[in-house]
Symmetry: C2
Subunit: 225 residues, 2 copies
Amino acid sequence: MAENMTLLWGSGSPPCWRVMIALEEKNLQGYNNKLLSFEKMEHKSQEVLDINARGQLPSFKHGDNNVNESYAACFYLESQFKSQGTKLIPDGAAEQALMYQRMFEGLTFYEKLNAVIYYTWFVPEEERHDSALKRNKEALTAELQLWEDYLQLGSASNLAGPSFSLADVTVFPTVATLFRFGLSAERYPKLGEYYALLKDRPSIKASWPPHWLENPKGQDTLKDI
Amino acid sequence: MAENMTLLWGSGSPPCWRVMIALEEKNLQGYNNKLLSFEKMEHKSQEVLDINARGQLPSFKHGDNNVNESYAACFYLESQFKSQGTKLIPDGAAEQALMYQRMFEGLTFYEKLNAVIYYTWFVPEEERHDSALKRNKEALTAELQLWEDYLQLGSASNLAGPSFSLADVTVFPTVATLFRFGLSAERYPKLGEYYALLKDRPSIKASWPPHWLENPKGQDTLKDI
C-alpha cells in the first residue's frame, strides 16, 4: 500500500495517465489521489500549487519528495521500486537504447497530437491560421507514419523490445487519445492493433479515464488524418 | 576510447551539446564525430537519415544501437557506463526526485527559450503576431523566475542536490544559450552565477560550441527579458 504517496490528477490527461499506469505496474495501489477538474481550473488551486509551482497536473508527492513532471515520476518510481511489480527498464543495451529512444520520441508524438486537437485551445482566436492548422495536421500525419513503421518492425504489443516498458507507460496514453479523437484504425492498422492489445492490460484498465468510461463516445477531430 | 561510437552534431545546438557533455563526463572521449551545418541543411543528408529517420541532430550510434533523442542518449550513456567517469544519477531518493524533476522541467525551459529566440524561424511570416511573441516573452520571463528561485534554494553550481548530475548535463546548454542571446546576469543573478561556475567545467569547456569560440560576441535578442 502506497499511503505515503499523493497524486492530484485530471481525467484524460496523458501525463497524469502515465503516472497512474506506472503506479499500477509497480503494485503501488492505495495511494491518496484526488481527481481535479481542468474546466473548473482546479489545477491552479492552492492544493496543487503547494506541491507544484507550475500549477499543473499531475502533481505527485512521495513522502517529502515532489515529482510532478510525468516522465520524472515514471523514472523515479521505477528507480525507487526496482524489484517490485513489473520491471519497466530492460537490462540489455539494445533494448535499453530502443526504449529510451521511443520514450523520448514519444514527447514529440504527444506534442504533435496536441498541436492538432488543442489548436483552438492553445492559439487565441485572432492568431489562428488555416495554414498553421494544416501544417500541424501534416506533421501529425508524418509522425503517425513513423510509429506505424516502428510497430511494423517490432512486437505488436510493446513499443521497445520483447516486453512492456517505460516506452509503453509513457506513449500508450497518447495512442489512446488518438483513437478517442477519432483516428482511423483502418488507416493506421499497427497503431490500432497496439491500442487493442494494450487497452485491457490491468494497469491500463484500472487507470482508464473516468470520463471516457462515462461517455464512451469520443470526438471525430482526427477522422480525416 | 569510444571508437565504436559516432556522433553527428551541429554547433550551438543544446540537444547536441547535452550528449557531448555526457560523453565527456563518462570519459568517452575519442568517439567518431562529424560537425554538420544546419544552414546547409546537412541534418537532412543521407548520412543523418541512415541513423535518424527524423533527420535531426544529434544523431548518435553506439555499436548497432541508435539513440538520437538527446535525453535518451544521456540516460543510455549513464546506464551503460555507470561505474565510469562521473556518476550522473545520485543514489538517494530525495536527490533523485529533484534531479528527475529539474531535468524534465528543463524541457519546458528549453521550449520557452526557443519560442522567443527562434520565433521568426518557427513561424512563417504571414502567421506572425506581436501578441504571440509578447506572450512567449512573458512565459520565458516567468520561467526564468522559477529557475532563479530554484537556484536560490540549492547549491549555486548544481541544479539538483550536492553534485553535478544529469539535470546539469541537460539544462546547462539552455542556460548558456540564454546568455549567448543576451540575457542580463544582473537581472538573473543566480542563473548568472550558475553559468559562470559551470562554464569552465572540463566537460563543458571541451564541448563548447566552436562557432561561439570563433565569434565570442552573441546576439542581444534577450537583453530586455
